[in-house]
């Protein structure tokens, strides 16, 4: 009995699997974008199943606040690039597969090139801009996209853009949500997320990828599953058999001007005209702040005029995610605005020297 047969025997034995399915798995090329709460468990199971080529794209580095749900990382990995660390760990877990780290940020400039080498993409990102970018890129290149998203105790899973034959494809993310105002939707840093939900949804995404590759089971195509980890209830909503959207080109992603905590502290020593803007909620500000003006993210639209002129403004939140969204919104409306987002938010600020 050879080592491969021995390793995969317990899945080859599945009804509808056999050596043919294992061969399909070995030939498959899967790209996971975002090696965070969803990407970590999905990557573990896709690696253990023997996916031939597994790409991991993440430009971010490991931070201590990731560790409660991003189970591929240890405190010793702090500051290292997530894609590199994840690939190194997964190579130990399964030395028989090819692992490809993509450490650059996925943008409208490079996304088509990055996904070109893969048959299927798994969305493990944590922001709407990259979700729409991946969606549109997969539609334009005719690849299926396994979608997952989490918030607090609730997660969503679906498979977008599956080829239904005769030139039609199953619905995609824009069928569900044509457009989103990212400043109105709280993220995990604000509202929290239960780590086990990330595990459940990430494993469900890997499960759908394996079903797609091996052509077994009913895919979540034309449907979206919503799971609630508090009640353990899940529902599958039907969307329809084919997409009604017409995506013709990618939206250009915006590069956000950011400043890290050390540089900001240094600059504040010499430049007392620089203004800090706290975009967190009132409760968060009441608990702790690092000074400056308070403009909560969801009220930013009403205060846009404030950013039209004057001194350099550095926006901050707890992790840097919401200040990124705030800067993005300001730059869309006032392209000449002199604004920065504080990288790593007040967490990094508190720990920097």
């Amino acid at each position: 009995m050879n080592e491969d047969l021995q390793r995969y025997n317990c899945q080859i034995a599945l009804p509808g699997f056999g050596n043919e399915a294992q061969q399909l798995i070995g030939q498959a090329r899967v790209l996971i974008v975002g090696a965070g709460g969803l990407g970590c468990p999905a990557a573990q199971y896709l690696a253990s199943t023997g996916i031939g080529t597994l790409g991991i794209a993440d430009y971010d580095s490991v931070s201590i606040s990731n560790l409660h749900r991003q189970i591929l990382y240890t405190p010793a990995d702090e500051g290292k690039n997530k894609a590199e660390v994840a690939c190194a760990k997964l190579a130990q877990q399964n030395p028989g597969i090819k692992l490809v780290p993509h450490a650059q940020k996925v943008t409208s400039d490079n996304v088509m090139d990055v996904i070109a080498g893969y048959d299927i993409v798994l969305d493990g990102t944590d922001n709407f801009e990259t979700r729409y970018l991946l969606n549109d890129a997969c539609v334009l290149s005719g690849k299926p996209l396994v979608y997952g998203a989490i918030y607090q105790f609730e997660g969503q899973v679906a498979v977008w853009n599956v080829d239904k034959g005769k030139g039609t494809n199953s619905p995609n993310y824009r069928d569900l949500f044509p457009d989103v105002d990212a400043t109105q939707i709280p993220n995990c840093t604000e509202g929290g997320v239960i780590p086990t939900l990330a595990g459940i949804i990430g494993c469900m995404q890997a499960n759908e990828a394996i079903k797609y590759i091996t052509k077994t089971g009913d895919l979540l195509a034309g449907k979206v599953l919503i799971f609630d980890a508090q009640s353990m209830q899940s529902r599958i909503f039907k969307i329809g058999p084919v997409t009604k959207t017409h995506i013709r080109r990618l939206k250009t992603t915006i590069a956000i001007p950011t400043i890290n905590a050390t540089d900001l502290k240094e600059r504040m020593l010499h430049d007392d005209t620089l203004e800090l803007i706290d975009v967190r909620t009132l409760q968060e500000r009441d608990a702790f702040d690092i000074g400056g003006t308070h403009i909560p993210l969801d009220e930013l639209e009403e205060y846009l005029a404030y950013f039209a002129s004057g001194n350099t403004k550095v926006l901050y939140c707890s992790s840097g995610k919401r200040s990124d969204e705030a800067v993005k919104l300001i730059m869309k409306r006032i392209p000449e605005a002199d604004v920065f987002s504080l990288e790593g938010g007040i967490v990094d600020w508190s720990l920097s020297h």
Partner: protein
């Protein structure tokens, strides 16, 4: 007729509950329901888009709502 509306994601926070009920006329459409909800909960409108499902299926603005239909409001979620 009384229509029960289930809230998912941030809609739970906007409604302050995972379920609200609305009084509507018998020939009401999804678009009427959406109007009523957004009037009562202005933050809902600010989401730009959210999915409305009736009896676990995607509903269009022109679809009529019937007594005992179960309406679900599903906003986008970004976390990962």
């Amino acid at each position: 007729m009384k229509i029960n509306v289930l809230a998912f994601g941030v809609a739970k926070e906007i409604f302050g509950s995972s379920e609200v009920s609305l009084e509507m006329t018998n020939d009401a459409t999804i678009s009427n329901l959406q109007y009523l909800l957004e009037q009562q909960y202005p933050r809902l409108k600010q989401l730009s888009s959210y999915m409305i499902a009736v009896n676990n299926e995607y509903a269009l603005p022109g679809d009529t709502i019937h007594e005992r239909d179960e309406v679900a409001i599903i906003p986008p979620v970004s976390g990962g």
